[in-house]
Symmetry: C2
Subunit: 332 residues, 2 copies
Amino acid sequence: MENTYVIGIDLGGTNTELGLVRNDGHIVARHNLSTKDYSSFPPFADDMVKAAGELCAAGDPETGWHGTVNDLRGIGIGAPNADPNTSSMVEPPNLKQFKGVSNFAVEFRRCGVTVPVAVDNDANAAALGEMVYGGATGMKHFIMITLGTGVGSGIVVDGKLVHGSTGTAGELGHNILIPNGRECSCGRRGCLETYTSARGIVQTYIEVRREMGAPADAKEHPGWIGPEVTDAEIHSITVGMAASAGDPLALEAFRRVGYWLGIACANAVTFSAPECIFLMGGPTKVGDPLLRPLRKSFDEHLLNIYQGKCRIEMSHLKTNEVAILGAAALVS
Amino acid sequence: MENTYVIGIDLGGTNTELGLVRNDGHIVARHNLSTKDYSSFPPFADDMVKAAGELCAAGDPETGWHGTVNDLRGIGIGAPNADPNTSSMVEPPNLKQFKGVSNFAVEFRRCGVTVPVAVDNDANAAALGEMVYGGATGMKHFIMITLGTGVGSGIVVDGKLVHGSTGTAGELGHNILIPNGRECSCGRRGCLETYTSARGIVQTYIEVRREMGAPADAKEHPGWIGPEVTDAEIHSITVGMAASAGDPLALEAFRRVGYWLGIACANAVTFSAPECIFLMGGPTKVGDPLLRPLRKSFDEHLLNIYQGKCRIEMSHLKTNEVAILGAAALVS
């Protein structure tokens, strides 16, 4: 089979990374742009298309392929608050410099791109990436949950992403897990995000250490976060490292986070009965301290008719590749 | 356009009703069988096919159409625990006389039916009925929630029922609304069903009257359920009638039920971003005492990006027609 190429663009608040992706999922080359250096969208679009052109010109040394952006199969962009129906971002919260509507299709056409341009939000792109290049190959029904600053999700039903009537379906991070629970940045209370995002993990740890105090055998736990570290200084990575080192407080925090996420996953199954729920994102890297209580809670809370029919897995894609591969999958 | 006909069968634990349905949604004639009189499935299938044959033979006086079951477009069956992939019910809890697997396609073929036979669970059938004959005509994304002895749901995404990898997706009644909440018949705790089914309404009323006691102006409320009515004697219809008559305790019970259902509906929107959530079933007949607090809670708990984009409506189909029309829609 002849090789085809796409450009995947992972647009983030700080950095934007472009990758030239071969149809077998190999990222041939990358280019980085500093998103925050742009004060409006059109010059940013100019530079994205220029960088894409340079990646195409350099081409794939392994196969000898090279060309222009219009020799690609297309350009896919994973971006916050992106709406695939309109090919645009609308006032993304972390990209306030791009006021109003930032329309990728229109701007890329202006820059001479004639091949397909597809846009979707980052969690949806990650789900597609898993389907095209990762562990969900051939699956008709699965869910991707991304843990990070927020909690995102991409839901695949009958082999297609669920976009719903608004284009913005699949916001499981804002499913209310505990009515009247923790305050969420969305202005409501009790959203899954407040319990299982990076910030949710930190808040849980702080609650745990307030409840439990220093462990009796604190000195035996090199990972233990001492009282000299203030609440404000604790990051989810700190908690993850402490848990990995065996700190009982950090392990208890992840036990609670896993318990909550297990309920949310069991609830998601009652909706679309997926074969698998994939997880990705920084807070999942801790591994067993999160996964064990998560799977235990999932089994306990899963309705009997679904028992043994849905598993929870980590994304099969590499952390530093998933965003670009997800974006690439939008045009694959 | 030439008229076509299907038989819709609403299979219930006590009664099974067959209807001859014209393609414009008119139920031409009906026939009733007493489900509980059958001790095994094959003779029951014999009688269903025989009754269907009689309905076809009598035909449609308005158009003059008549024929045999094999002149139909098909036969659709809405039944508890039915799996469309296997065309069968597996040990439905309220039909214990039909042990093991009751396969409609196989039994109906044995009885000489050669036209398509389609089976689905009752809530999914109701959703399809709404799409083909009711208020969801032309909608790509909507959800049907049925309140009754249990709480069922049918979810439509991209114009198709979501069946998931197991064939049994769409069990929102067993979404855990309150972790570690009320005991559910499924063996878990806190399921939506325990708060908003007929039984959930009764339990809520009992809790309310325990908390609040007799209203100060009880005598002014002809609907008030006096202390002479024991907890065991209260049915959801009793509570509905009391609420309609203005009883503050019953109104408070429905206010709580509406509050809970509003959260569940808002959560469902984060999944598939439907245009509309339809409600049907006995407990919804009370109307405003349920719908007002439900819509209020829905608005309060709906994520901002969905505000104004999803409405809650009663099913547009008549209560005594929805089950047959839903079953008919399976082959429409």
